[in-house]
Assembly symmetry: D2
Homo-oligomer: 146 residues x 4
Protein backbone atom coordinates (compact mmCIF):
# COMPACT_ATOMS: atom_id res chain seq x y z
CA UNK A 1 0.00 0.00 0.00
CA UNK A 2 3.08 2.19 0.10
CA UNK A 3 2.78 4.14 -3.12
CA UNK A 4 -0.64 5.34 -2.16
CA UNK A 5 0.34 6.55 1.30
CA UNK A 6 -0.90 10.12 1.76
CA UNK A 7 1.25 12.93 3.11
CA UNK A 8 -1.30 14.40 5.46
CA UNK A 9 -3.64 12.82 8.01
CA UNK A 10 -6.71 13.64 9.98
CA UNK A 11 -6.54 12.04 13.43
CA UNK A 12 -9.46 10.66 15.41
CA UNK A 13 -8.91 9.41 18.93
CA UNK A 14 -11.17 6.96 20.72
CA UNK A 15 -11.37 4.34 23.41
CA UNK A 16 -12.23 0.80 22.27
CA UNK A 17 -15.77 -0.07 23.45
CA UNK A 18 -16.59 -3.44 24.99
CA UNK A 19 -19.15 -4.39 22.36
CA UNK A 20 -16.48 -4.45 19.62
CA UNK A 21 -14.54 -7.24 21.37
CA UNK A 22 -14.93 -10.87 20.39
CA UNK A 23 -14.29 -14.33 21.81
CA UNK A 24 -10.51 -13.90 21.36
CA UNK A 25 -10.58 -10.92 23.79
CA UNK A 26 -9.68 -8.53 20.97
CA UNK A 27 -11.56 -6.44 18.43
CA UNK A 28 -13.54 -8.62 16.00
CA UNK A 29 -12.02 -8.30 12.52
CA UNK A 30 -15.24 -6.98 10.97
CA UNK A 31 -15.58 -4.30 13.63
CA UNK A 32 -12.48 -2.37 12.61
CA UNK A 33 -14.73 -1.02 9.87
CA UNK A 34 -16.76 0.74 12.57
CA UNK A 35 -13.67 2.62 13.70
CA UNK A 36 -12.71 3.54 10.16
CA UNK A 37 -16.27 4.67 9.41
CA UNK A 38 -16.41 6.89 12.49
CA UNK A 39 -13.01 8.40 11.63
CA UNK A 40 -14.11 9.17 8.05
CA UNK A 41 -17.20 10.87 9.45
CA UNK A 42 -15.15 13.07 11.76
CA UNK A 43 -12.71 13.83 8.97
CA UNK A 44 -15.48 14.91 6.58
CA UNK A 45 -17.18 16.99 9.29
CA UNK A 46 -13.98 18.81 10.26
CA UNK A 47 -13.09 19.29 6.60
CA UNK A 48 -16.36 21.18 6.23
CA UNK A 49 -18.55 18.63 4.40
CA UNK A 50 -20.28 16.28 6.85
CA UNK A 51 -21.23 12.93 5.35
CA UNK A 52 -24.91 13.65 5.98
CA UNK A 53 -24.70 16.24 3.16
CA UNK A 54 -24.30 13.37 0.71
CA UNK A 55 -27.46 11.81 2.09
CA UNK A 56 -29.42 15.05 1.82
CA UNK A 57 -28.64 14.88 -1.91
CA UNK A 58 -29.86 11.28 -2.08
CA UNK A 59 -26.29 10.06 -2.48
CA UNK A 60 -23.81 7.81 -0.74
CA UNK A 61 -20.12 7.10 -0.90
CA UNK A 62 -20.23 3.35 -1.44
CA UNK A 63 -17.14 1.28 -0.72
CA UNK A 64 -16.26 -0.80 -3.77
CA UNK A 65 -13.03 -2.32 -2.51
CA UNK A 66 -11.03 -2.53 0.66
CA UNK A 67 -7.66 -3.99 1.43
CA UNK A 68 -7.18 -4.37 5.15
CA UNK A 69 -4.14 -5.62 7.11
CA UNK A 70 -4.49 -6.80 10.69
CA UNK A 71 -1.08 -6.27 12.28
CA UNK A 72 -1.75 -6.68 15.96
CA UNK A 73 -4.51 -7.10 18.51
CA UNK A 74 -6.53 -4.24 20.00
CA UNK A 75 -8.18 -4.76 23.36
CA UNK A 76 -11.08 -3.34 25.32
CA UNK A 77 -10.36 0.09 26.82
CA UNK A 78 -7.27 0.62 24.63
CA UNK A 79 -6.83 4.15 23.39
CA UNK A 80 -6.45 4.20 19.64
CA UNK A 81 -5.73 6.83 17.03
CA UNK A 82 -7.27 6.47 13.60
CA UNK A 83 -5.30 8.27 10.89
CA UNK A 84 -7.18 9.13 7.71
CA UNK A 85 -5.65 10.45 4.52
CA UNK A 86 -6.65 10.86 0.89
CA UNK A 87 -4.89 8.65 -1.66
CA UNK A 88 -6.59 10.14 -4.69
CA UNK A 89 -9.73 11.97 -5.74
CA UNK A 90 -11.43 11.55 -9.11
CA UNK A 91 -14.68 12.76 -10.67
CA UNK A 92 -16.74 9.87 -9.40
CA UNK A 93 -14.54 8.20 -6.83
CA UNK A 94 -12.17 8.72 -3.95
CA UNK A 95 -9.61 6.52 -2.25
CA UNK A 96 -8.79 6.86 1.43
CA UNK A 97 -5.89 5.32 3.26
CA UNK A 98 -6.55 4.78 6.96
CA UNK A 99 -4.51 3.28 9.77
CA UNK A 100 -5.17 2.48 13.42
CA UNK A 101 -2.51 2.97 16.07
CA UNK A 102 -2.56 1.80 19.67
CA UNK A 103 -1.29 4.42 22.10
CA UNK A 104 0.52 3.42 25.26
CA UNK A 105 0.84 5.45 28.48
CA UNK A 106 3.89 7.27 27.12
CA UNK A 107 1.92 8.28 24.02
CA UNK A 108 3.97 5.97 21.82
CA UNK A 109 2.08 4.70 18.81
CA UNK A 110 2.20 1.23 17.27
CA UNK A 111 0.27 0.47 14.11
CA UNK A 112 -2.26 -2.34 14.58
CA UNK A 113 -4.28 -2.07 11.38
CA UNK A 114 -4.19 -0.36 8.02
CA UNK A 115 -6.70 -0.25 5.22
CA UNK A 116 -7.37 1.25 1.83
CA UNK A 117 -10.94 2.16 0.89
CA UNK A 118 -11.95 2.81 -2.70
CA UNK A 119 -15.32 4.52 -2.79
CA UNK A 120 -17.63 5.66 -5.56
CA UNK A 121 -20.41 8.18 -5.37
CA UNK A 122 -23.80 6.59 -6.02
CA UNK A 123 -27.42 7.67 -5.96
CA UNK A 124 -30.11 6.07 -3.77
CA UNK A 125 -30.90 3.90 -6.82
CA UNK A 126 -27.29 2.65 -6.91
CA UNK A 127 -26.42 4.58 -10.08
CA UNK A 128 -22.99 6.16 -10.42
CA UNK A 129 -22.97 9.87 -9.62
CA UNK A 130 -20.42 12.66 -9.70
CA UNK A 131 -18.71 13.58 -6.44
CA UNK A 132 -20.39 16.84 -5.27
CA UNK A 133 -18.30 19.85 -6.36
CA UNK A 134 -18.28 21.35 -2.90
CA UNK A 135 -16.98 18.11 -1.41
CA UNK A 136 -14.22 17.89 -4.02
CA UNK A 137 -13.26 21.51 -3.35
CA UNK A 138 -13.10 20.92 0.41
CA UNK A 139 -10.97 17.80 -0.03
CA UNK A 140 -8.50 19.59 -2.31
CA UNK A 141 -8.29 22.56 0.03
CA UNK A 142 -7.62 20.26 2.97
CA UNK A 143 -4.92 18.38 1.04
CA UNK A 144 -3.16 21.60 0.06
CA UNK A 145 -3.22 23.19 3.52
CA UNK A 146 -0.09 21.82 5.10
CA UNK B 1 -44.13 -12.54 32.73
CA UNK B 2 -46.24 -15.52 33.65
CA UNK B 3 -49.76 -14.30 32.94
CA UNK B 4 -48.79 -13.40 29.43
CA UNK B 5 -47.21 -16.73 28.58
CA UNK B 6 -48.70 -18.01 25.32
CA UNK B 7 -49.98 -21.54 24.88
CA UNK B 8 -48.43 -22.18 21.49
CA UNK B 9 -44.94 -21.58 20.15
CA UNK B 10 -43.12 -21.35 16.89
CA UNK B 11 -39.62 -22.83 17.21
CA UNK B 12 -36.50 -21.62 15.43
CA UNK B 13 -33.27 -23.52 15.81
CA UNK B 14 -29.82 -22.08 15.23
CA UNK B 15 -26.16 -22.35 16.09
CA UNK B 16 -24.62 -19.38 17.92
CA UNK B 17 -22.25 -17.54 15.55
CA UNK B 18 -18.84 -16.35 16.68
CA UNK B 19 -19.50 -12.67 15.97
CA UNK B 20 -22.24 -12.56 18.64
CA UNK B 21 -19.79 -13.46 21.42
CA UNK B 22 -18.21 -10.80 23.63
CA UNK B 23 -15.24 -10.39 25.93
CA UNK B 24 -16.85 -12.61 28.59
CA UNK B 25 -16.84 -15.55 26.11
CA UNK B 26 -20.63 -15.52 25.94
CA UNK B 27 -23.28 -13.80 23.82
CA UNK B 28 -23.23 -10.01 24.28
CA UNK B 29 -26.44 -8.93 26.02
CA UNK B 30 -27.49 -6.63 23.15
CA UNK B 31 -27.05 -9.43 20.62
CA UNK B 32 -29.85 -11.64 21.94
CA UNK B 33 -32.08 -9.22 20.06
CA UNK B 34 -30.58 -10.54 16.82
CA UNK B 35 -31.74 -14.05 17.70
CA UNK B 36 -35.21 -12.87 18.66
CA UNK B 37 -35.45 -10.80 15.48
CA UNK B 38 -34.48 -13.74 13.27
CA UNK B 39 -36.96 -15.99 15.06
CA UNK B 40 -39.80 -13.47 14.60
CA UNK B 41 -38.94 -13.31 10.91
CA UNK B 42 -39.11 -17.09 10.54
CA UNK B 43 -42.33 -17.18 12.54
CA UNK B 44 -44.00 -14.55 10.34
CA UNK B 45 -42.80 -16.25 7.14
CA UNK B 46 -44.04 -19.68 8.17
CA UNK B 47 -47.32 -18.17 9.40
CA UNK B 48 -47.83 -16.87 5.86
CA UNK B 49 -47.05 -13.16 6.23
CA UNK B 50 -43.31 -12.48 5.83
CA UNK B 51 -42.14 -9.31 7.57
CA UNK B 52 -41.10 -7.83 4.22
CA UNK B 53 -44.84 -7.49 3.42
CA UNK B 54 -45.02 -4.78 6.09
CA UNK B 55 -42.18 -2.95 4.39
CA UNK B 56 -43.81 -3.19 0.97
CA UNK B 57 -46.73 -1.26 2.51
CA UNK B 58 -44.33 1.36 3.90
CA UNK B 59 -44.85 0.05 7.40
CA UNK B 60 -42.87 -1.43 10.26
CA UNK B 61 -43.58 -3.23 13.48
CA UNK B 62 -41.67 -0.97 15.88
CA UNK B 63 -40.73 -2.28 19.30
CA UNK B 64 -41.98 0.12 21.96
CA UNK B 65 -41.01 -1.87 25.02
CA UNK B 66 -39.07 -4.96 25.92
CA UNK B 67 -38.53 -6.75 29.16
CA UNK B 68 -35.65 -9.19 28.88
CA UNK B 69 -34.28 -11.63 31.48
CA UNK B 70 -30.79 -13.09 31.12
CA UNK B 71 -30.87 -16.40 32.97
CA UNK B 72 -27.69 -18.09 31.87
CA UNK B 73 -24.77 -17.81 29.49
CA UNK B 74 -24.83 -18.91 25.85
CA UNK B 75 -21.55 -19.77 24.16
CA UNK B 76 -20.16 -19.93 20.65
CA UNK B 77 -21.33 -22.99 18.71
CA UNK B 78 -24.14 -23.76 21.19
CA UNK B 79 -27.32 -24.98 19.60
CA UNK B 80 -30.25 -22.89 20.73
CA UNK B 81 -33.99 -23.00 20.22
CA UNK B 82 -35.92 -19.75 20.10
CA UNK B 83 -39.58 -20.15 21.06
CA UNK B 84 -41.94 -17.42 19.87
CA UNK B 85 -45.54 -17.01 20.92
CA UNK B 86 -48.22 -14.34 20.77
CA UNK B 87 -49.26 -12.74 24.07
CA UNK B 88 -51.97 -10.55 22.57
CA UNK B 89 -52.99 -8.89 19.34
CA UNK B 90 -54.78 -5.56 19.10
CA UNK B 91 -55.81 -3.21 16.30
CA UNK B 92 -52.53 -1.32 16.25
CA UNK B 93 -50.20 -3.44 18.34
CA UNK B 94 -49.00 -6.93 19.12
CA UNK B 95 -47.10 -8.45 22.00
CA UNK B 96 -44.79 -11.42 21.54
CA UNK B 97 -43.29 -13.56 24.25
CA UNK B 98 -40.03 -15.22 23.23
CA UNK B 99 -37.58 -17.46 25.04
CA UNK B 100 -34.20 -18.95 24.20
CA UNK B 101 -33.25 -22.46 25.26
CA UNK B 102 -29.84 -24.09 25.11
CA UNK B 103 -29.99 -27.67 23.86
CA UNK B 104 -27.52 -30.25 25.11
CA UNK B 105 -26.42 -33.45 23.33
CA UNK B 106 -29.39 -35.35 24.80
CA UNK B 107 -31.76 -32.72 23.42
CA UNK B 108 -32.58 -31.45 26.90
CA UNK B 109 -33.52 -27.79 26.95
CA UNK B 110 -32.60 -25.21 29.58
CA UNK B 111 -33.96 -21.68 29.35
CA UNK B 112 -31.22 -19.06 29.11
CA UNK B 113 -33.20 -15.96 28.17
CA UNK B 114 -36.77 -14.78 27.95
CA UNK B 115 -38.23 -11.54 26.65
CA UNK B 116 -41.50 -9.77 26.03
CA UNK B 117 -41.77 -7.47 23.01
CA UNK B 118 -44.56 -4.94 22.68
CA UNK B 119 -44.73 -3.68 19.12
CA UNK B 120 -46.86 -1.10 17.33
CA UNK B 121 -47.47 -0.78 13.64
CA UNK B 122 -46.07 2.47 12.25
CA UNK B 123 -45.68 4.09 8.86
CA UNK B 124 -42.36 5.14 7.35
CA UNK B 125 -43.08 8.59 8.82
CA UNK B 126 -43.38 7.08 12.30
CA UNK B 127 -47.15 7.57 12.50
CA UNK B 128 -49.32 4.92 14.15
CA UNK B 129 -50.97 2.58 11.65
CA UNK B 130 -53.41 -0.28 11.84
CA UNK B 131 -52.01 -3.79 11.79
CA UNK B 132 -52.67 -5.12 8.24
CA UNK B 133 -55.86 -7.18 8.17
CA UNK B 134 -54.20 -10.10 6.44
CA UNK B 135 -51.48 -10.23 9.10
CA UNK B 136 -54.07 -10.16 11.89
CA UNK B 137 -56.02 -12.93 10.19
CA UNK B 138 -52.92 -15.09 9.80
CA UNK B 139 -51.94 -14.56 13.44
CA UNK B 140 -55.40 -15.53 14.70
CA UNK B 141 -55.51 -18.57 12.45
CA UNK B 142 -52.10 -19.68 13.70
CA UNK B 143 -53.15 -19.20 17.34
CA UNK B 144 -56.30 -21.23 16.87
CA UNK B 145 -54.68 -24.14 15.01
CA UNK B 146 -53.51 -26.36 17.83
CA UNK C 1 -40.05 2.97 36.26
CA UNK C 2 -40.82 6.05 38.26
CA UNK C 3 -40.22 4.89 41.81
CA UNK C 4 -36.71 3.84 40.92
CA UNK C 5 -35.75 7.09 39.23
CA UNK C 6 -32.44 8.31 40.67
CA UNK C 7 -31.85 11.87 41.84
CA UNK C 8 -28.48 12.34 40.25
CA UNK C 9 -27.15 11.55 36.78
CA UNK C 10 -23.89 11.15 34.97
CA UNK C 11 -24.18 12.51 31.42
CA UNK C 12 -22.44 11.13 28.34
CA UNK C 13 -22.75 12.94 25.05
CA UNK C 14 -22.23 11.33 21.67
CA UNK C 15 -23.09 11.52 18.01
CA UNK C 16 -25.01 8.56 16.56
CA UNK C 17 -22.71 6.55 14.25
CA UNK C 18 -23.89 5.29 10.88
CA UNK C 19 -23.30 1.62 11.67
CA UNK C 20 -25.97 1.70 14.41
CA UNK C 21 -28.71 2.61 11.92
CA UNK C 22 -31.01 -0.01 10.44
CA UNK C 23 -33.34 -0.46 7.49
CA UNK C 24 -35.93 1.90 9.01
CA UNK C 25 -33.36 4.76 8.91
CA UNK C 26 -33.18 4.85 12.70
CA UNK C 27 -31.10 3.16 15.39
CA UNK C 28 -31.69 -0.61 15.48
CA UNK C 29 -33.47 -1.52 18.72
CA UNK C 30 -30.70 -3.85 19.87
CA UNK C 31 -28.06 -1.17 19.33
CA UNK C 32 -29.32 1.16 22.05
CA UNK C 33 -27.52 -1.25 24.36
CA UNK C 34 -24.22 -0.09 22.82
CA UNK C 35 -24.97 3.49 23.84
CA UNK C 36 -25.98 2.46 27.35
CA UNK C 37 -22.88 0.30 27.68
CA UNK C 38 -20.57 3.11 26.59
CA UNK C 39 -22.28 5.51 29.00
CA UNK C 40 -21.90 3.09 31.93
CA UNK C 41 -18.22 2.75 31.06
CA UNK C 42 -17.72 6.52 31.11
CA UNK C 43 -19.70 6.81 34.32
CA UNK C 44 -17.60 4.16 36.10
CA UNK C 45 -14.36 5.68 34.82
CA UNK C 46 -15.25 9.19 35.94
CA UNK C 47 -16.52 7.86 39.26
CA UNK C 48 -13.05 6.45 39.81
CA UNK C 49 -13.56 2.73 39.16
CA UNK C 50 -13.18 1.90 35.46
CA UNK C 51 -15.01 -1.24 34.40
CA UNK C 52 -11.74 -2.87 33.42
CA UNK C 53 -10.93 -3.13 37.15
CA UNK C 54 -13.69 -5.73 37.44
CA UNK C 55 -12.06 -7.71 34.67
CA UNK C 56 -8.63 -7.54 36.30
CA UNK C 57 -10.25 -9.31 39.27
CA UNK C 58 -11.71 -11.96 36.96
CA UNK C 59 -15.16 -10.51 37.44
CA UNK C 60 -17.98 -8.99 35.40
CA UNK C 61 -21.15 -7.06 36.05
CA UNK C 62 -23.61 -9.30 34.22
CA UNK C 63 -26.99 -7.90 33.23
CA UNK C 64 -29.73 -10.16 34.57
CA UNK C 65 -32.71 -8.10 33.53
CA UNK C 66 -33.50 -5.04 31.49
CA UNK C 67 -36.69 -3.15 30.88
CA UNK C 68 -36.32 -0.85 27.93
CA UNK C 69 -38.83 1.64 26.46
CA UNK C 70 -38.44 2.97 22.92
CA UNK C 71 -40.17 6.34 22.90
CA UNK C 72 -39.02 7.89 19.64
CA UNK C 73 -36.64 7.41 16.75
CA UNK C 74 -32.96 8.38 16.78
CA UNK C 75 -31.24 9.05 13.47
CA UNK C 76 -27.73 9.05 12.09
CA UNK C 77 -25.68 12.08 13.14
CA UNK C 78 -28.12 13.03 15.92
CA UNK C 79 -26.49 14.31 19.06
CA UNK C 80 -27.68 12.37 22.06
CA UNK C 81 -27.17 12.58 25.80
CA UNK C 82 -27.17 9.41 27.84
CA UNK C 83 -28.12 9.97 31.46
CA UNK C 84 -27.02 7.29 33.92
CA UNK C 85 -28.10 7.06 37.54
CA UNK C 86 -28.02 4.46 40.31
CA UNK C 87 -31.38 3.01 41.41
CA UNK C 88 -29.95 0.87 44.17
CA UNK C 89 -26.77 -0.86 45.25
CA UNK C 90 -26.66 -4.15 47.15
CA UNK C 91 -23.94 -6.54 48.26
CA UNK C 92 -23.96 -8.56 45.04
CA UNK C 93 -25.97 -6.45 42.66
CA UNK C 94 -26.63 -2.97 41.36
CA UNK C 95 -29.47 -1.40 39.39
CA UNK C 96 -28.91 1.46 37.00
CA UNK C 97 -31.53 3.63 35.41
CA UNK C 98 -30.46 5.14 32.09
CA UNK C 99 -32.20 7.35 29.57
CA UNK C 100 -31.30 8.70 26.14
CA UNK C 101 -32.25 12.20 25.08
CA UNK C 102 -32.04 13.72 21.60
CA UNK C 103 -30.67 17.25 21.64
CA UNK C 104 -31.82 19.79 19.07
CA UNK C 105 -29.92 22.88 17.86
CA UNK C 106 -31.32 24.92 20.76
CA UNK C 107 -30.03 22.33 23.23
CA UNK C 108 -33.56 21.24 24.08
CA UNK C 109 -33.75 17.62 25.15
CA UNK C 110 -36.46 15.09 24.32
CA UNK C 111 -36.35 11.60 25.81
CA UNK C 112 -36.20 8.88 23.15
CA UNK C 113 -35.38 5.82 25.24
CA UNK C 114 -35.19 4.75 28.85
CA UNK C 115 -34.00 1.53 30.42
CA UNK C 116 -33.43 -0.15 33.74
CA UNK C 117 -30.51 -2.55 34.10
CA UNK C 118 -30.25 -4.99 36.97
CA UNK C 119 -26.74 -6.37 37.19
CA UNK C 120 -25.05 -8.94 39.39
CA UNK C 121 -21.36 -9.37 40.02
CA UNK C 122 -20.10 -12.70 38.73
CA UNK C 123 -16.77 -14.45 38.39
CA UNK C 124 -15.30 -15.66 35.10
CA UNK C 125 -16.89 -19.03 35.94
CA UNK C 126 -20.33 -17.40 36.20
CA UNK C 127 -20.52 -17.75 39.98
CA UNK C 128 -22.09 -14.97 42.05
CA UNK C 129 -19.50 -12.67 43.63
CA UNK C 130 -19.59 -9.71 45.98
CA UNK C 131 -19.41 -6.26 44.45
CA UNK C 132 -15.83 -5.04 45.06
CA UNK C 133 -15.67 -2.87 48.20
CA UNK C 134 -13.84 -0.09 46.43
CA UNK C 135 -16.49 0.06 43.70
CA UNK C 136 -19.30 0.18 46.29
CA UNK C 137 -17.50 2.94 48.15
CA UNK C 138 -17.03 5.00 44.98
CA UNK C 139 -20.69 4.56 44.01
CA UNK C 140 -21.90 5.68 47.45
CA UNK C 141 -19.55 8.65 47.46
CA UNK C 142 -20.76 9.68 44.01
CA UNK C 143 -24.42 9.34 45.07
CA UNK C 144 -23.88 11.50 48.16
CA UNK C 145 -21.93 14.28 46.42
CA UNK C 146 -24.66 16.54 45.20
CA UNK D 1 -7.83 -12.30 -7.40
CA UNK D 2 -8.01 -14.57 -10.41
CA UNK D 3 -4.84 -16.60 -10.07
CA UNK D 4 -5.83 -17.64 -6.57
CA UNK D 5 -9.33 -18.75 -7.49
CA UNK D 6 -9.89 -22.26 -6.14
CA UNK D 7 -11.34 -25.09 -8.19
CA UNK D 8 -13.73 -26.40 -5.58
CA UNK D 9 -16.21 -24.66 -3.31
CA UNK D 10 -18.22 -25.31 -0.22
CA UNK D 11 -21.61 -23.61 -0.44
CA UNK D 12 -23.55 -22.06 2.43
CA UNK D 13 -27.02 -20.69 1.83
CA UNK D 14 -28.73 -18.12 4.01
CA UNK D 15 -31.33 -15.41 4.11
CA UNK D 16 -30.08 -11.88 4.86
CA UNK D 17 -31.22 -10.84 8.37
CA UNK D 18 -32.65 -7.41 9.08
CA UNK D 19 -29.98 -6.45 11.60
CA UNK D 20 -27.24 -6.58 8.93
CA UNK D 21 -28.89 -3.80 6.89
CA UNK D 22 -27.78 -0.19 7.17
CA UNK D 23 -29.09 3.28 6.40
CA UNK D 24 -28.66 2.73 2.64
CA UNK D 25 -31.18 -0.18 2.79
CA UNK D 26 -28.46 -2.69 1.99
CA UNK D 27 -25.98 -4.80 3.96
CA UNK D 28 -23.47 -2.64 5.85
CA UNK D 29 -20.02 -3.13 4.34
CA UNK D 30 -18.51 -4.37 7.62
CA UNK D 31 -21.26 -6.97 8.03
CA UNK D 32 -20.32 -9.04 5.01
CA UNK D 33 -17.62 -10.41 7.31
CA UNK D 34 -20.37 -12.00 9.40
CA UNK D 35 -21.57 -13.95 6.37
CA UNK D 36 -18.05 -15.02 5.44
CA UNK D 37 -17.35 -16.04 9.03
CA UNK D 38 -20.51 -18.14 9.25
CA UNK D 39 -19.69 -19.79 5.93
CA UNK D 40 -16.14 -20.66 7.05
CA UNK D 41 -17.59 -22.19 10.19
CA UNK D 42 -19.98 -24.36 8.22
CA UNK D 43 -17.22 -25.32 5.80
CA UNK D 44 -14.87 -26.40 8.60
CA UNK D 45 -17.64 -28.33 10.37
CA UNK D 46 -18.69 -30.22 7.24
CA UNK D 47 -15.06 -30.85 6.36
CA UNK D 48 -14.73 -32.62 9.70
CA UNK D 49 -12.82 -30.09 11.80
CA UNK D 50 -15.20 -27.59 13.46
CA UNK D 51 -13.58 -24.27 14.30
CA UNK D 52 -14.23 -24.84 18.00
CA UNK D 53 -11.52 -27.52 17.86
CA UNK D 54 -8.96 -24.75 17.35
CA UNK D 55 -10.27 -23.05 20.47
CA UNK D 56 -10.11 -26.22 22.55
CA UNK D 57 -6.36 -26.24 21.76
CA UNK D 58 -6.07 -22.59 22.87
CA UNK D 59 -5.64 -21.51 19.26
CA UNK D 60 -7.32 -19.27 16.70
CA UNK D 61 -7.13 -18.70 12.97
CA UNK D 62 -6.46 -14.96 12.96
CA UNK D 63 -7.10 -12.99 9.80
CA UNK D 64 -4.00 -11.04 8.85
CA UNK D 65 -5.18 -9.59 5.58
CA UNK D 66 -8.34 -9.33 3.57
CA UNK D 67 -9.07 -7.96 0.15
CA UNK D 68 -12.78 -7.48 -0.34
CA UNK D 69 -14.68 -6.26 -3.41
CA UNK D 70 -18.24 -4.96 -3.12
CA UNK D 71 -19.83 -5.55 -6.51
CA UNK D 72 -23.50 -4.96 -5.86
CA UNK D 73 -26.04 -4.38 -3.11
CA UNK D 74 -27.62 -7.10 -1.00
CA UNK D 75 -30.97 -6.41 0.64
CA UNK D 76 -32.97 -7.67 3.58
CA UNK D 77 -34.57 -11.08 2.97
CA UNK D 78 -32.42 -11.78 -0.10
CA UNK D 79 -31.30 -15.36 -0.41
CA UNK D 80 -27.55 -15.57 -0.78
CA UNK D 81 -25.04 -18.30 -1.41
CA UNK D 82 -21.59 -18.02 0.10
CA UNK D 83 -18.95 -19.98 -1.80
CA UNK D 84 -15.81 -20.87 0.11
CA UNK D 85 -12.64 -22.34 -1.38
CA UNK D 86 -9.03 -22.85 -0.36
CA UNK D 87 -6.41 -20.78 -2.20
CA UNK D 88 -3.44 -22.32 -0.43
CA UNK D 89 -2.46 -24.08 2.77
CA UNK D 90 0.92 -23.71 4.46
CA UNK D 91 2.44 -24.87 7.74
CA UNK D 92 1.28 -21.87 9.72
CA UNK D 93 -1.22 -20.18 7.45
CA UNK D 94 -4.13 -20.68 5.10
CA UNK D 95 -5.76 -18.51 2.46
CA UNK D 96 -9.44 -18.77 1.65
CA UNK D 97 -11.22 -17.24 -1.31
CA UNK D 98 -14.91 -16.57 -0.67
CA UNK D 99 -17.67 -15.04 -2.76
CA UNK D 100 -21.28 -14.10 -2.13
CA UNK D 101 -23.96 -14.59 -4.78
CA UNK D 102 -27.50 -13.29 -4.77
CA UNK D 103 -30.01 -15.86 -5.95
CA UNK D 104 -33.14 -14.81 -7.81
CA UNK D 105 -36.44 -16.75 -8.06
CA UNK D 106 -35.14 -18.71 -11.05
CA UNK D 107 -32.08 -19.75 -9.03
CA UNK D 108 -29.81 -17.59 -11.17
CA UNK D 109 -26.75 -16.36 -9.30
CA UNK D 110 -25.10 -12.95 -9.53
CA UNK D 111 -21.90 -12.25 -7.62
CA UNK D 112 -22.27 -9.34 -5.20
CA UNK D 113 -19.09 -9.66 -3.16
CA UNK D 114 -15.79 -11.49 -3.20
CA UNK D 115 -12.99 -11.61 -0.67
CA UNK D 116 -9.64 -13.20 0.03
CA UNK D 117 -8.75 -14.02 3.64
CA UNK D 118 -5.18 -14.76 4.67
CA UNK D 119 -5.14 -16.35 8.10
CA UNK D 120 -2.40 -17.50 10.45
CA UNK D 121 -2.70 -19.91 13.32
CA UNK D 122 -1.98 -18.23 16.65
CA UNK D 123 -2.09 -19.20 20.30
CA UNK D 124 -4.21 -17.43 22.93
CA UNK D 125 -1.11 -15.33 23.65
CA UNK D 126 -0.95 -14.20 20.01
CA UNK D 127 2.13 -16.28 19.19
CA UNK D 128 2.42 -17.99 15.82
CA UNK D 129 1.48 -21.66 15.94
CA UNK D 130 1.47 -24.53 13.49
CA UNK D 131 -1.81 -25.39 11.81
CA UNK D 132 -3.09 -28.56 13.58
CA UNK D 133 -2.11 -31.66 11.62
CA UNK D 134 -5.63 -33.05 11.64
CA UNK D 135 -7.01 -29.81 10.22
CA UNK D 136 -4.38 -29.77 7.44
CA UNK D 137 -5.17 -33.39 6.63
CA UNK D 138 -8.90 -32.69 6.43
CA UNK D 139 -8.36 -29.66 4.21
CA UNK D 140 -6.15 -31.61 1.80
CA UNK D 141 -8.59 -34.50 1.69
CA UNK D 142 -11.45 -32.12 0.93
CA UNK D 143 -9.44 -30.43 -1.82
CA UNK D 144 -8.59 -33.72 -3.47
CA UNK D 145 -12.10 -35.18 -3.38
CA UNK D 146 -13.62 -33.86 -6.55
Amino acid sequence: MKDKTPEKYHITEMRVPLFEIDIGQVVYHGNYFHFYNTARDEFFREMGYPYIEFMKRGEHLAIVETNCKFKGPVSYDDIIEIHTGVSWLRTRSISLYQAIFKRDENHNLSMVNEALFNMVCISDQFRAAKIPEEFAYKVKTWMNNK
